[in-house]
Amino acid sequence: MPGIELIVSVSSPRELDGTELAPFDSVCLGNPYCRRVEGNYAEQLPLLPGAVSSLREAGKKVYVTSPAAPRGRDLPQVERLIEAASRAGAQALEVHNMGVLRILREKGNPLAAHMGAYANVYTHLGAKVMRDYGAVRVRPNAEVSLREMEIIAREAEIEVEVLAHGKIPLGVTDRCSLLTEAEDADPNCPSACRKDHWLTSRDPALRSGSPPGKGEIREGGWVLKTVGKGILSGRDMCMLEHLPGLLSAGFSVFRIEGLYESAAYRSEIGGVYREALELAASGRTYGVRREWAETVRRHAHVGLCNGYHFGKTGRLYIGSVLQKGNSVL
């Protein structure tokens, strides 16, 4: 599909292993939340040359992410990351922090900048400032609607990346909520975030029905996913039934958020979106196929959402095909 780019994000060799990459045009390596994630490509820099070269040999574009919230003490590592990513042949650095963007420019490194989900791109004027610093692509904040993204792309003359599927990044912190001790003293680090952890609201007013049974994540109230230093949506952003609209609006760069998901999630969701994008771009009659719907529902433990893209509450699902199966709240 010329002109369309489907990206998947993977933190580490553990996440890359077993992920079927055929559906994807590009891979964004590394984890922006925590430097201590085991095998984090953005931290374990010796891993980058091998990973980048093998992906490029496979015909993929390769990007490397950077820390979402680097303190001053983290900046020397950021400088090393920029150098390592550039030397390894990565094609862009995903940037969430303005200080990192400035360092990239000040170093005179030719690596392009892609502004990430935490860069707080809300307006075309903001995107223009970042463009002047070397950004060639922006992923607007989750709260920015598709209509606003169209304006940003047009007025700032910059490529806009759209989250097509996966958990929505809702917050970043520098204190890991999965640990009870300091990071370097807690035996649960870095293994704690390898497993899924969900936050379910307890307030009686937010609950309905009985507590979830074993193996069941039920949204009796608000459900969020915690990854220790980040809060993600409980529900999966899903734009499957809206792909023709996205293409006709001029969007062509789409992300499948693969961080903290299984290889099966990345592979199967990627496969669904590859097929769906091919159909949507073909001009033939588009409809969500039963097997696609089954796949996205099977992987969405808490349900689907896409409200932000339509200027609504983030956890709502706007559409007419896949809304069934979401719980009330």
Binding site: M98, G99, G126, L170, T200, G215, I231, T313
Partner: protein, 317 residues
């Protein structure tokens, strides 16, 4: 000498904080600041309050520190034009594009890069300085070494919040509230108040302060009655060090609190700063900490009630 800046949620609060010793007061332009509309001011109230501040030789700073939509930029420019024409020169902004645009269109204005910019390292500070900020607000957990670097190496003014909240997530990078509820409410001027988004409209439902259970991938309960840390704090011990560091602005947040409580906070910090400035060598902090305990208790009581109300309100979606 560090400027003492305090919140002006209403014209009455503006008078209270200035009369109680603040050097400057900030107010939110309605629909444009990081608080809901009831704690913001319409244009006439802003202008009257600015006149009052000017009559005392003090400063009124207008907050436009939400992140707007692109189509709202002309509204922002028109409002800033109106305020600058009336002599207001001080503004608080978050959107880096709006910051650059205003600094180019209105030479001589002073721009504070808001706490919503999440400035956590010295290169962040450089970036916002380049975009037109004359003063930057340090992220609430920033250490003194980083502050020193910003002050000495970046050469931009530094503002530190001495009464605020350290949200669980980094303030300005959180959308938990709007994920649970967000509404579009466009006012007569065409500004969307984005109810439920603290970044865009100011109203945060504080969902992080609900009680949570943590559940593992097999549905097992890992922790019960979890509270994500979101602490309101007062800095007292740090005030002498902040002054010694050359911090330019010491800010007391609190537009949503009662006027008497905010007035009390201002009196406390005014007296503390003045006492330290008068005699640094023999200054002792302990008596001040005892005084602060009473203010903390009053603040916590007001905050608890507000949080309960906000969480309940978010359920109305």
């Amino acid at each position: 000498m560090a400027e003492l800046l305090a919140s002006g949620g209403t014209p009455e609060m503006v008078r209270a904080v200035l009369d109680n010793g603040a050097d400057a007061v900030y107010v939110g332009a309605k629909g444009w600041s990081r608080r809901r509309a009831q704690y913001e001011m319409d244009d006439d109230q802003v202008l009257v309050s600015a006149e009052y501040a000017r009559s005392l030789g003090k400063i009124l700073r207008v907050a436009f520190n939400t992140l707007p939509a692109s189509r709202e930029i002309p509204l922002l420019l028109a409002k800033v034009e109106k305020f600058t024409s009336a002599g207001i020169r001080d503004f608080i902004l978050t959107d880096v594009g709006a910051m650059r645009e205003l600094s180019l269109r209105f030479p001589g204005i002073r721009i504070h890069a808001s706490v919503g910019c999440t400035i956590i390292n010295s290169d962040d500070a450089w970036f916002y300085k380049d975009a037109g900020a004359t003063r930057i607000v340090a992220e609430c957990r920033m250490g003194r070494e980083e502050m020193r670097r910003i002050r000495e190496e970046v050469g931009v003014g530094l503002e530190v919040l001495v009464h605020a909240t350290t949200c669980y997530t980094l303030l300005g990078r959180c959308t938990m509230s709007s994920y649970t509820r967000q509404e579009s409410r466009v006012d007569a001027e065409g500004k969307n108040h984005f109810l439920g988004s603290p970044n865009r409209g100011g109203l945060c439902y504080r969902v992080c302060l609900a009680e949570w259970n943590q559940v593992g991938e097999n549905g097992e309960t890992e922790a019960e009655r979890l509270i994500l840390p979101n602490q309101a704090y007062f800095l007292v011990d740090d005030i002498p060090a902040l002054i010694d560091l050359g911090v330019d602005t010491i800010k007391i947040q609190g537009r949503e609190y009662s006027v008497p409580l905010v007035g009390r906070m201002v009196r406390f910090y005014r007296a503390l700063i003045d006492a330290y400035m008068e005699d640094r060598s023999s200054f002792r902090i302990d008596p001040w900490k005892e005084q602060m305990a009473g203010i903390v208790s009053a603040r916590d009581g007001e905050r608890r009630e507000k949080t309960k109300g906000l969480i309940s309100e978010s359920l109305g979606a």
